[in-house]
């Protein structure tokens, strides 16, 4: 692997974040922090503990997962789509770089930005709720795997999208509802038996549950199921990208 082109793409994408600091960093940090204030500090104090964890602390992994999923998808999709939109994608496609190097550059930058945001939000949330970290290794593992996997999904969306509206389609109409219905704000034990079964078909449940387990040692599904789900996502995203580059879908006519 030639690291110069990877570095070039990575640095260019990170530079875009620096140029758009308000939109890229400040905005998601403020909106997630508001959720901590409203659900954690204000409403949370009136709700009983879940699995021995205060409600304010219980929702932190879910809220972080929501932000991580949407930001990873948006960061990666926008970077690639903007190159297509401006026409400068020719620079990438005519350069002597492999598909792997292109993906590592774009996805690496998108995942880095998302992880950076998570770290900022984790720091911010500790001001509002009593945060515990049961297993830092699994927190980091879930963080990196989820950021990379959903940045890969964003990369796919960036290639697929042929307009700005399609860029927002998946984060707003798929990821956000699935995360809200995926146990971010409640334990699925609190649902009636029928809806518990239905909820298990929601893949985000496994991500939120695994992430929450690494904070508090409590989960809705087993750790193994959560890891298997994220690895399944990762494999599916990688396979789709391999197909895109093999066929030139929406990149090379």
């Amino acid at each position: 692997m030639n690291l110069y082109p990877v570095r070039a793409i990575y640095m260019a994408e990170m530079a875009r974040t620096r140029r758009t600091l308000l939109q890229s960093v400040v905005s998601p940090v403020i909106s997630t922090s508001l959720s901590f204030v409203v659900f954690g500090a204000a409403i949370g104090s009136r709700i009983t503990e879940i699995g021995g964890v205060s409600y304010g602390a219980f929702i932190v992994p879910g809220l972080i997962m929501l932000m991580l999923l949407t930001q990873s998808v948006s960061n990666a999709s926008f970077g690639l789509f903007f190159s297509k939109f401006s026409g400068s994608i020719y620079e990438i496609l005519s350069a002597p770089i492999s598909y792997l190097e292109i993906v590592v550059g774009y996805v690496g930058a998108a995942a880095s930005k998302s992880i950076l945001l998570v770290l900022i939000i984790l720091g911010t949330s500790s001001f509002f709720v009593p945060l515990e970290i049961a297993d830092p290794f699994w927190i980091l593992t879930f963080l990196v795997l989820t950021a990379v996997t959903f940045s890969l999904l964003g990369f796919i969306i960036g290639i697929w999208a042929d307009g700005f509206d399609k860029l927002q389609l998946v984060p707003l109409l798929v990821i956000t509802p699935l995360t809200f219905l995926g146990g971010s704000f409640y334990s699925i034990d609190m649902l009636p038996p029928f809806w518990q079964s239905v909820t298990l078909a929601n893949p985000v449940v496994y991500l939120v549950s695994g992430f929450r387990w690494s904070f508090y040692g409590i989960s809705d599904v087993s750790l193994g199921a959560s890891v298997a789900m994220i690895l399944l996502f990762l494999a599916a995203s990688l396979a789709t990208i391999a197909w895109i580059f093999r066929t030139g879908y929406r990149l090379k006519p």
Partner: protein, 311 residues
Amino acid sequence: MNDPIITIDGLNKTYEGGFQALTRVDLTIQRGEIFALLGPNGAGKTTLISLVCGFVNPSEGHVIVDGFDSVRDYRQGRERIGLVPQELTNEAFETVWNTVSFNRGLFGKSPNPAHIEKVLKSLSLWDKRYNRLMTLSGGMKRRVLIAQALSHEPRILFLDEPTAGVDVELRRDMWNVVRGLRDDGVTIILTTHYIEEAEEMADRIGVINRGEIVLVEEKAALMKKLGSKQLTLQLHSPLTELPPALAQEELSLTADGYELVYTYDGRQEEEGRGISTLLTQLEQAGISFKDLHTRQSSLEDIFVDLVKERS
């Protein structure tokens, strides 16, 4: 000269909708030459360049760049190529320096600020290096595209309509840069609508029409073979008709009878009936003239004739 740097062999391109952009294109570009590819809009020029540069997939055929297959050995092939695209496609919010440096990195080269500085200075962009691209004029943006293409020190440079929409001064600057690159051994392939540029700059001319290469010729040979000249004589007294002794297909009389127009190429001299013979015949016929001028057909005339002929 037979040292090919690009060999295009049986290249076909049919787009998804069924439109055939290129039909069995065979073309060889020699190392160190300036090759001008001419053709009307939609002839297939940009498709051909895109295929060689690797961002359009061929339907059939091969491109060999300096001995490397453009698909199998894409790294070696592409690192030799710089491309100045037709459209202004820069990243609007980035600075000139970062944009050009980004391209160098993209092509796998280690950072070399001295080279970037040299390129920017040669294109009169040094003073603008910290400016965002969105603040530059169209001509300046086009210079940035050239700087991007030169950032990784390519041995082959594609210029796809590089002077479209730029002013005369900038155009001259650009051609000076191109000449300098050629002197450094860079092979240059350009497409242009300004045929006088091809006429002035190119060593060889290729004409493409409807996806097919119609003609490839040394510029001088092409001008000689297909170019014609006209001698116009302004007469002292008008003629009502040509005297029978002067009647020949190359000579005509204008409607007002005041001008004789002689159209000729190399053949007439070879057959012993060139300009000197004509002037002697006029003197013998008692026809005198007060002025004369000659005109040589341009590459544009040749191009228009060729395209018309094949349509």
